[in-house]
Structures are given as C-alpha cells and as structure tokens.
Amino acid sequence: MKPVQTRLRTPLYARHVELGARMVDFGGWDMPVHYGSQIEEHHAVRRDAGMFDVSHMCVADLKGARVRAFLRQLLANDVARLQSPGKALYSCMLREDAGILDDLIVYFLTESWFRMVVNAGTRDQDLDWIRRRAAPFDVEVTERRDLAMIAVQGPNAREKAAGRIPAQHRVAALGLGTFVGAEFGDLFIARTGYTGEDGWEVMMPADRAVTLWNAWSEAGIKPCGLGARDTLRLEAGMNLYGADMNETTHPLESGLGWTVAWEPADRDFVGRATLARIRAQGCARRLVGLLLEERGVLRSHQRVVTTAGDGETTSGTFSPTLERSIGLARVPAGTGERVQVDIRGKLLAARVVKPPFVRNGRPLVS
C-alpha cells in the first residue's frame, strides 16, 4: 500500500497550479519552485519586481507584560536594540550548546506584543521550544495560521505594490524605513526580505491572499518560485537554515557572529556560556563565500580542499546575475584565498570571497 501523504498547502496553492507552476515538496509544503523560467524570475527581482508566496513560514505573536525580558533570554541577538515600534531584528535562537535551532525575524510592536517569523521546516520544534521557556514569563505564544504572507521584492516592488493597497495607507506604507513593519488595516507590511533587494513582506488574512496576489500580478509584479528565492538569497549572501547552519553548528562558524549581542555582558541568553567559551578558545571553522573560477556548478556537500585542511560547501548554485557559480562553504579558520572544490572527482579552482555577492542589482565581487 502507498502511504497517504498530505502536503500542506498555502491559500495560494490553487493559483500557483493555475499559473502552471512546477510544485515541489518544501519542508512538508507543496510550493512552487518556478512558473516557467527560474532565471527570468531571478532577473525580474534584480531588475524590476517579483513576488513570492511565503505563507508556509510561521508567524507567531508573543504577548505578555514581560515579553521583552523573555526574548532577551531566548535570542542570541538583543531585542533591547528594538526601541521604536515596528522595528525588526534578525537573530539566531540557540540551544544551550550554542547549536542553532533556527534563524528568525522578530518585530517589536508594543511593550507587550512582539511578532516572530520562523522557518516552515522548524515550526513545530520552535514553537515547542519557545512555549516551554515562555511559561515562567507568562508570555502567551499564538501561531498565526490565519495569516498568509507574500514577499514583493525588487527595485520597483514597493512602488508597484503600493498602488494596489487601500489608498489611505499608501503614503505611510511607502514611508516605512528599512527593517520596519507596521499594521495598515488588516495588512501587516514590513520593509524586509530575503533577496538583497528593496521590498516588502506583507502579511494578510488568508482569504485576502489571492485577491492581492492577482492585483499585484496585474500591476506588473512577476510571480517567482522558491528556486529564484534560493539563487537570490545566495547572491545576497544570506544563510539558509538547514543548509548553511543547523543545530549542530553555532553562529560563529556560520557567518553569523554579527548577530550575537555580547553586550551587555550580564544578559544571559540561551547558549551564551558555550558560545563565549568557543569564542575565547578561537573558532576552528568559518563560513565563507566561494566563486568558482572554472566551468561547473557548486552544490552543497562538495569537498573543499584548502592548505589548512578540508572544508565543505553548504550551498551552491549558478548565479544568474554573475553568470558563474557561487556558493557558501564551511572551511578551516586558516583558509586562504585560493581553494579547490571536488566536483564529481575533479578538483576545480575557486576563490574565497566575503559575501554578499550581489546587492541592490549590483555585483560586489568579480
């Protein structure tokens, strides 16, 4: 007998199928990988405007008088940095041994209400972890399954998207600063993203998702799949949870040292003691960007040969903007600029670079 497997669907599932999307399993969700050409979708975001259904991601509201104190203990970055309402922060959530449970964005909305967006694949374990630690702080954690989320990204995305939201909100929505979100009627609009371009991530009641998607499509925002989302984020030098880091790696060997708030020294966040010990001893590995200098394509789990020992690629793809292959790799700390990557038994030359590779439409490496 064939096991019955039901993949989860977002409110936009039927729309994706109508548009001819190639659907794939992504963390248990049936999601569009592309609607015809992944490369065209990628270019649309770099040059104009594209949109992604990211309703599979998990939105959770955390409410309670002591929610800020709770998050200062839960997260490696410090929500004390969030002082004006709507401001967002990127952070890792660590285990006691400093392994990364997830990376997430947290918004400060009011002194008793923060909103968090975590990865789809880690949803259940995250919520379980958060709820167990929230109880002593009397913080209530509510998963917002009633919300859908669409990311509109690209140099013209905000302008095009703003034309199709209620008129009274347009000016204020376009005035949102970088990494700031706010409620506009039943929309929550945030100037955030995962592409290295300007844009919004918009949360909405699930039953409004198709209407907004169609309106934005008419406004010239191109539907884009998870394939383009991956090449865009990799060009932008952003980590993917489960590929570039997971619970067996810590932030300092994952290119995420900048997200760990060490000050104030008396803030005792989960994982701090272990991470401080690793920092004091010196970190043995680091995550770097790779540019392949020969023909071929970097993929995850390829061996990286360096004079300091072997490393491994964690992500790799063909970069449509640079028209060559790029990747991220975890390598020995003493790795120099020249390395080789084992691709199907051949050692190909690659150069170590500091990500991002591309930002705001422009190559940053050559």
Partner: protein
C-alpha cells in the same frame, strides 16, 4: 503537452536517439526532460573516444537547481560531444532535439537501436509516470 518526434527512439530515463546516415547515433534528452529540469546552466559532455556501456552515466546536465546524470542508451564509442553546449547550455532547453544534442556515438551493435522505445511507447511511459 511535450513534443515527441516520431522519427526518434527513446529510453525510460528520457534520452532520445537518432540514427544518422553514417551509422552513428545522436543522443540527447527529451523535451519532457528539459522541461522538468528547468533552465540549464551547465552541461558536461563526454570526450570523443570514450567507451560507454548502455546505462552508463555519460553526461551531466545542470539546471540552476540541480545536477542530473544522462545515461547512454546504447553501448559504443563516443565519436563527438556537442562542444557548443559549453557556452550555450540553454540550447538543450530551446532545441532539445536539434542544436541541444549531447553526444554522438558509434554503437557496438547497430541492431540495439531497434530495442529502444518508439514515440508511442515513450508517450505511454510519460503518462504512466505522471499517473
């Protein structure tokens, strides 16, 4: 609906075979296969002179997303790899049965070609995979 030319032979792993006038065969991947892979960005073809057995991985086609092996439908000696694909891998997407051919092969036994699927059998195979 994917294009399945009637004058070619096919394999279950989505390669096609065309018999040329000089007795060699041209090999590529089907329209269905190129569509399933998406935009190709790198193609590795075998060098002339290489001996391959039927079922051997003989070429690699890489889309933005993933690398896939191409299996030789026949045993024989590679007479030519399509050098144009080094700079223009997208030919496989644009013209899978023409400019996007991968390699030419001199079969060890010319009669083996007859054992491959014809267009009707391949169309049925695609239906069964979809079901």
């Amino acid at each position: 609906m994917s294009n399945i030319p009637r004058d070619l032979k096919y394999t279950k792993s989505h390669e096609w075979v065309r018999t040329l006038a000089d007795g060699t065969v041209e090999i590529g991947i089907s329209d269905h296969a190129q569509h399933a892979l998406g935009d190709l960005v790198f193609v590795e073809v075998p060098e002339a002179g290489r001996e391959v057995a039927a079922g051997d991985a003989c070429a690699v086609v890489e889309s933005v997303k993933a690398a896939s092996d191409v299996y030789s439908p026949l045993s024989g000696t590679v007479s030519e790899g399509n050098a144009a694909l080094a700079d223009t891998p997208e030919l496989v997407n644009q013209d899978p049965y023409g400019g996007g051919w991968l390699m030419r092969l001199r079969p060890r036994r010319a009669a083996d070609v007859a054992g491959l699927m014809d267009a009707d059998a391949y169309a049925k195979h695609l239906e069964s995979e979809a079901g």
